[in-house]
């Protein structure tokens, strides 16, 4: 392939030499020399033997200077050939080699990556070494790296999460507050209903009747009747199993104290504290009023 390249180079060299020789206004040896220079360079460029990276030239337009860096292939070419490396400086001359080489400012000064194809058939167009800006993909050439995420996409990804969080906050805020604008009596009624409707929850039972001698005495009076005692035991058992509506119905007495009412007149007084049920007193109809008065004093 290299041999073919050199053959093509020679053909182009000779053709350009003759053209440059004719066009050159100088005479004698200089004519030949300059023609040969131009032909040599142009042929090398045309065959891809030389890759040119043009450095951004200064704004001083008085002297236009171009610095060209040659690729390793050209260096190899130099190694193979005895030809010297030529840094062409176009200082206002009409040499066509440097004419019209004003490059856009976005080009980097380092050779990397995208180079025009080295095949003779796929010669790039003039100026094809120009690299696109980072993030601006060319027509088919290299563009942004694979992991590049523009700032806009990152921001858009964060927004839905924030929206979801906002939605959750709004849902929580939109939930109406419970039991704020209700009268005390209805609250009591509801608390009674809630207390009654909570079933199936087995809870620990703590007997606190023994803490007061008066309540102990009244409980003993209530237990004298065997049927009443049976009814009292049954209601306490049902309460422990989570049934808050044994007998003929539970009623709210005061504060957090409730009364279980048996069919035979038996009454059990309890309250729920810290997830435990406290049995406070027991009575029958005959001492019901008295027991309630004692409970109100204590609790």
């Amino acid at each position: 392939m290299k041999i073919l390249r050199y053959v093509v180079w020679l053909c182009i060299l000779s053709a350009i030499f003759f053209i440059a020789y004719k066009e050159c206004k100088e005479k004698g040896f200089r004519r030949v020399k300059n023609s040969f220079k131009i032909a040599f360079i142009m042929a090398a460029i045309g065959t891809g033997l030389i890759s040119i990276n043009v450095v951004k030239f200064p704004e001083d337009t008085s002297s236009i200077s171009h610095e060209r860096l040659y690729s390793e292939e050209y260096n190899s070419l130099e190694a193979n050939n005895s030809d010297t490396v030529i840094l062409a400086k176009a200082s206002g001359s009409s040499s066509s080699g440097s004419h019209g080489r004003a490059q856009p400012s976005g080009f980097s000064g380092q050779s990397s990556g995208s180079r025009p194809p080295s095949k003779a058939t796929g010669t790039p167009k003039y100026g094809g070494f120009a690299r696109p800006k980072f993030g601006q993909p060319p027509g088919g050439g290299p563009g942004k790296p694979a992991n590049f995420i523009p700032d806009e996409d990152v921001a858009s990804q964060e927004v839905p999460k924030k929206k979801e969080e906002k939605k959750l906050d709004n849902v929580e805020q939109s939930q109406p507050p419970k039991k704020k604008e209700r009268s005390k009596s209805t609250e009591q009624c509801e608390s009674v209903d809630e207390n009654q409707n909570r079933e199936g929850e087995t809870k620990e039972i703590v007997h606190r009747i023994k803490e007061n001698s008066a309540l102990v005495r009244e409980a003993e009076i209530a237990g004298r009747d065997l049927d009443a005692q049976r009814s009292l035991n049954n209601m306490v058992e049902q309460l422990g199993l989570g049934n808050r509506k044994p007998g003929i119905g539970t009623r709210h007495v005061f504060k957090d104290v409730y009364e279980l009412r048996g069919r035979g007149g038996a009454r059990v007084y309890y309250r729920e504290v810290g997830g435990r049920i406290e049995i406070l007193a027991k009575s029958v109809k005959s001492n019901q009023n008295k027991v309630i008065k004692i409970l109100k004093k204590i609790y």
Binding site: V192, K245, I248, G249, R251, E259, G265, V284, S286
Partner: protein
């Protein structure tokens, strides 16, 4: 017997009633002699509810209820005053119902049997 005062288990007991046609309530009746009777006033609908609750075809034996149409203050007072008549007999009956010793019924039964025998002897003579 005159009724001195009618009170409930809590001051707001009547306001807490969810359904005045299906409820029962303990009512404390203070009589003129200072004695306080405790009676259970219930609605007819509540009796059916209790049977439904216990899943029975009859109301289980227990303390008697004073039946009213609705659980309102006016109707309760009307019923209590009616039951307090005749020197508070029925009021006390509903108060002590379920607390009377069986021996009393046995004594009453024996007295009644004795009375029936005397009647038969009179018929035969």
């Amino acid at each position: 017997m005159l009724v001195k005062k009618i009170s409930f288990i809590s001051p707001n007991a009547l306001e807490e009633i969810p359904d005045i046609e299906d409820y029962n309530l303990d009512v404390f009746v203070e009589l003129e002699d200072g004695y306080t009777c405790t009676v259970v006033i219930a609605t007819a609908k509540n009796i059916v509810s209790l049977m439904d609750q216990e899943k029975t075809n009859f109301l289980e034996a227990g303390e008697p209820f004073i039946l009213v149409r609705k659980m309102t203050k006016e109707i309760i007072e009307e019923a209590v005053k009616a039951y307090a008549e005749n020197d508070g007999y029925w009021l006390k009956f509903y108060h002590f119902g379920g607390q009377v010793d069986k021996a009393v019924f046995d004594r009453l039964q024996a007295e009644h049997i004795e009375h029936l025998k005397e009647l038969d002897e009179l018929d035969n003579s």
